[in-house]
């Protein structure tokens, strides 16, 4: 059995920031991630980020990942386990981890769950043909492994992810035939949409995928227009000759460990799935278990970092650690979060979060 003051599951922006803040107050931290790198989703984000100066706006996600990981690895209060998957959480507060075929038990005093999200998929005929990927997989292929997924892509979903992955595909020299979106409006920030449109990618709102075709592998797809009631309009089919369909239809919070721990959960569509109830300190209904980032509701790296900071500060504080400027640090983070979620595009998040307050 290994003992640690704070165990953090997930080394994305939320987990990394939580580790730095908790260690900053003096707590001793163990950070676990199943990947062989730290940074979570950020290492695939080659584009400049939105947000405020404090959240490193205009920097590229990949650079933020590098910096945060280096700070974590150079902090001797933080022990990092990579290629280590958390398999379970037991009633006696033990976290079970598999690393390099070995089973490790960790007993923390406080736990911060920052496991992020998992991609959703879409049902349509032939959606199992080779050549149909999730956007996250395409992004990993292109930006992490340097492999083109194919020659010509149909992107399904015009949220920020669908649009940004389209942009990154064009940058990698892959043709994007079109982006289709079932909703009547583009979900991505319009500036992102405008930049792919001027690069020659049309966006078809109120369109969905009817079927994919191909024999051994994907050869094309039929797309159809939707009416006000989201019903296909006969005769509006468009065929696309593509060898890749990229599904970017959202993420859902990766909450298995929270279910196991018995945290009170609620289904909140605005936060993209089942999420844990939590108080203002991001502590769940199980005392000592905190959440931060996409696992508590799909949002953004900027918000994930701020939530990580909050969970890290509060978890360390609850162990008796303190800093003279603790109150200011905490207030600062809360103010940043409020700012991020304040505008019209934050409305969905605000209404979702209102439903999960403990």
């Amino acid at each position: 059995m290994r003992y640690t003051e704070i165990c953090i599951i997930g080394g994305g922006p939320a987990g990394l920031t939580a580790a730095l803040k908790a260690a900053g107050l003096g707590a001793e931290v163990t950070l676990v991630d199943r990947n062989d790198y730290l940074g979570g989703q950020l290492i695939k984000q080659t584009h400049r980020f939105f947000g405020s100066k404090q959240q490193r706006a205009s920097e590229r996600g990949i650079n933020i990942a590098r910096e945060l990981s280096a700070a974590v690895l150079n902090n001797d209060k933080i022990k990092v386990l990579t290629e280590a998957t958390v398999l379970g959480y037991y009633e006696d507060g033990v976290v079970a981890v598999e690393q390099h075929d070995k089973f490790i038990k960790i007993k923390p005093q406080k736990l911060i769950v920052a496991t992020g999200g998992a991609e959703k998929t879409l049902a349509f005929p032939n959606n199992d043909l080779p050549g149909i990927y999730g956007a996250g997989a395409v992004q990993t292929l292109v930006n992490v492994n340097g492999v083109k997924p194919g020659k010509k892509v149909l992107m399904v979903g015009a949220g920020n992810i669908g649009v940004i992955v389209s942009y990154q595909l064009i940058q990698a020299g892959v043709e994007v035939a079109a982006i289709i979106e079932a909703a009547p409006t583009i979900g991505a920030y319009w500036v992102h949409a405008s930049k792919v449109v001027r690069a020659g990618v049309p966006i078809y709102t109120s369109h969905t995928i009817k079927r994919a075709w191909g024999d051994q592998e994907l050869e094309g797809a039929t797309v159809v227009k939707l009416d006000e009631n989201w019903q296909p309009i006969a005769g509006t089919e468009i065929d696309f000759d593509v060898d890749v369909i990229c599904l970017s239809v959202g993420l859902s919070p990766l909450t298995e460990l929270l279910w196991q721990a018995g945290c009170k959960m609620a289904y909140v569509p605005e936060l993209c799935g089942h999420v844990p109830l939590r108080n203002e300190n991001l502590e769940t209904s199980i005392p000592g278990i905190y959440v931060a980032g996409d696992v508590g509701g799909i949002e953004e790296a900027s918000a994930a970092m701020m939530e990580g900071a909050l969970a890290g500060l509060n978890a360390a504080k609850s162990l008796g650690y303190h800093a003279p400027d603790f109150a200011e640090q905490r207030a600062g983070v809360l103010k940043e979060l409020e700012g991020l979620r304040s505008g019209p595009v934050g409305e969905k998040i605000r209404s979702g979060l209102a439903k999960v307050v403990l």
Partner: protein
């Protein structure tokens, strides 16, 4: 500026930009410098039409030409008279939504500075296809300069000379196929 409230109106009234990603002539008119200001030389056009939590343009402008944001979701408001077209904001905008226009470049050509993150980069003197906001080729442009220093962190700035009548149309370009 009406934005998200359009979402609840009838289908045809949906904001065109939100449906297509292409700003309308009205959207553009709203951020266009006056004729008098354009006649004085280089000036920025900030084509950012939505309230989003973002403010690097404001922080990057040393001349305070972009008015202070009361809320991070504010849209940038540019005082064209204070702006000298220095392009500091252009490479910091994550939306690649800022362009510099210089109508005084020459008798028959205007100069446009465009943020560009694709390969291959064109070279000075190249003739490229000039592309509008909808992705259509509308003419030809000559590459006057390519700025791509480490300080720009991957967002290159390409200077294009285009005929005057295209200065408000061209916002992208395509490197021509080598034949």
């Amino acid at each position: 500026m009406p934005e998200v409230r359009f979402l609840f109106l009838g289908r045809e009234e949906f904001n065109v930009l939100a449906r297509t990603g292409v700003p309308t002539a009205e959207d553009i008119a709203e951020v266009m410098p006056s004729k008098e200001r354009l006649a004085k030389g280089a000036v920025a056009m900030i084509e950012c039409f939505q309230k989003i939590p973002c403010d690097p343009c404001y922080h990057s402008c040393k001349r305070q030409a972009i008015q202070p944001f009361a809320d991070i979701n504010d849209r940038p408001r540019l005082d064209h008279d204070k702006c000298n077209g220095c392009a500091m904001c252009l490479s910091r905008c994550p939306g690649l939504a800022i362009f510099i226009i210089d109508q005084t470049y020459s008798a028959d050509k205007a100069l446009i500075k465009i943020p560009y993150e694709y390969l291959p980069l064109p070279a000075e003197g190249h003739v490229v296809d000039a592309v509008n906001r909808a992705g259509q080729t509308v003419g030809e442009a000559q590459v006057v300069k390519v700025q791509s220093s480490e300080k720009l962190e991957g967002t290159n700035i390409v200077w294009l000379a285009v005929p005057h009548h295209l200065a408000m149309e061209v916002r992208h370009f395509k490197v021509k196929e080598v034949r």
